[in-house]
């Protein structure tokens, strides 16, 4: 009897979860209507600095262990903010570039395809990087270098500019990146 009740409860939760996921399957219309208002500026150099191994080694050598762990946690917390911001920007750009993939202009379609591809990769790296950064916050001594996010973000920036030149007039996208 208990197992049956547990299964029924799990099934009900699964149904609710499915409906919730299906309801929010797209970014809200306001985000897509005015993406520039939702894209947040990201200082890639500052992010690189936060996850720079040399910087980390320097702090490790200069600070007492307790102070280093505290500072390192703060740095990683800031890095998490950067990564989630980059991932959010990637999600918005991905949806915007999706329209470009069906463009009749081959150059626009190709640029959009590359942007979609890169934005997906950035989301993958971000997922991976977040896990590593949180792990680093738990174990501040561990060496965590999620640099691929920065590289991928820069590449995506270039592709946005290219696609924007070909298709999007949105001033804010270029300005934000």
């Amino acid at each position: 009897m208990t197992t049956t009740i547990i299964i029924v409860v799990i099934a009900s939760l699964a149904l609710l979860c499915l409906l919730w996921l299906a309801k929010g399957r797209t970014l809200s219309a306001s985000v897509l209507d005015n993406p520039t208002a939702h894209i947040r500026a990201l200082d890639v150099e500052a992010f690189r600095n936060l996850v720079d191994p040399d910087e980390e080694e320097f702090l490790r050598s200069q600070l007492p262990p307790a102070a280093f762990r505290r500072i390192q946690r703060e740095r990683l917390r800031a890095a998490v903010e950067y990564v989630s911001c980059a991932a959010q920007n990637a999600a918005i750009l991905l949806r915007l570039a999706d329209a470009g993939r069906r463009s009749t202009d081959p150059a626009t379609a190709e640029a959009a395809e590359k942007l979609v591809d890169n934005a997906i990769r950035l989301r993958l790296y971000a997922f991976h990087a977040m896990a590593r950064l949180y792990l680093g916050m738990i174990l501040p001594g561990a060496r965590i270098y999620p640099v691929r996010v920065a590289e991928s973000y820069e590449q995506m920036t270039r592709q946005v500019v290219l696609l924007g030149c070909l298709q999007y007039p949105t001033r804010g996208i270029a300005a934000a990146l």
Binding site: T3, I7, A14, L18, A22, R25, L32, L94, R123, P169
Partner: protein, 253 residues
């Protein structure tokens, strides 16, 4: 004839008539090459209904033969539903080459994990029915429902995390299957616990859910395919200063 009896008949016959309309629409709109497994599933459901309905009207009524045909039909239908889910995964990840490989690993990994979970549930809670056939049927149905529900929820989570757009007919198929799988998970567990075939309330709940799912499939497969993404509404008016600044910034790197 009571209202419950009439409702039961409507919920049994109605969805299959609508499935016929879906089948016709898929052929007419040439959607079936995109979703051959869903097409097969729809056709099989109609065939299964025709056979079961004929048996129920004959002298056999809802006897042992009916249960046997029902069990075999359920097994085949469940297998085709797995093929439909695999088709949805393939259809979805094919649109995004960067996700093709992770998507394949996700499908395989999840299938193994969910199979282990479902097997664990099947071992820990066997059925109470005296009939071996019914026990096996409902236990397999429950196992399959766990897996189908898990796979479809994972697909929705995956698409949501990556902010990917669905083609609306694929979304409709996945949503309908997901709803049916989650309700069938609950009802198969109840059936297995009751150990009896044809509990009225549970039957009505399952049939009503299936009717809703068929309506969802109808809605998404019959309406015109929308552009999955909003396109910019205005024509480009290039801001040369901004593009120039960006170009200079890139050249400085």
């Amino acid at each position: 004839m009571t209202v419950s009896y009439l409702l039961g008949y409507y919920l049994w016959v109605g969805p299959h008539v609508l499935l016929g309309a879906i089948l016709f629409a898929m052929i007419r709109r040439k959607v079936y090459p995109q979703f051959p497994m869903f097409f097969l599933y729809t056709a099989f459901e109609i065939l299964q209904f025709a056979v079961l309905f004929t048996i129920s009207r004959s002298h056999v009524h809802f006897g042992e033969s009916y249960v046997r045909v029902y069990s075999v039909g359920l097994a085949v239908s469940t297998a085709i539903r797995f093929a439909v889910i695999h088709e949805l995964f393939r259809h979805f990840f094919r649109s995004y080459p960067a996700l093709d490989l992770p998507g394949r690993y996700l499908f395989r990994g999840l299938t193994v994990v969910l199979l282990l979970v479902a097997t664990g549930v099947a071992v820990s809670a066997p059925g109470n029915s005296a009939s071996f056939l019914l026990n096996i049927t409902y236990a397999l149905d429950r196992t399959a429902s766990v897996m189908q529900c898990g796979l479809l929820i994972s697909l929705f989570i995956f698409s949501r995390y990556f902010a990917l757009s669905w083609r609306s007919n694929a979304f409709g198929i996945a949503l309908g299957l997901g709803i049916f799988a989650s309700v069938e998970l609950a009802t198969s567990a109840i059936w297995l616990h009751l150990g009896a075939f044809g509990n009225r309330a549970v039957n009505l709940l399952t049939m009503a859910t299936y009717h809703c799912c068929v309506l969802i499939w109808m809605f998404y497969l019959m309406r015109p395919e929308r552009e999955a993404q909003q396109a910019p509404k205005t024509l480009p008016k290039y801001d040369l200063d901004i593009w120039n600044q960006e170009l200079q910034r890139l050249l400085q790197r």
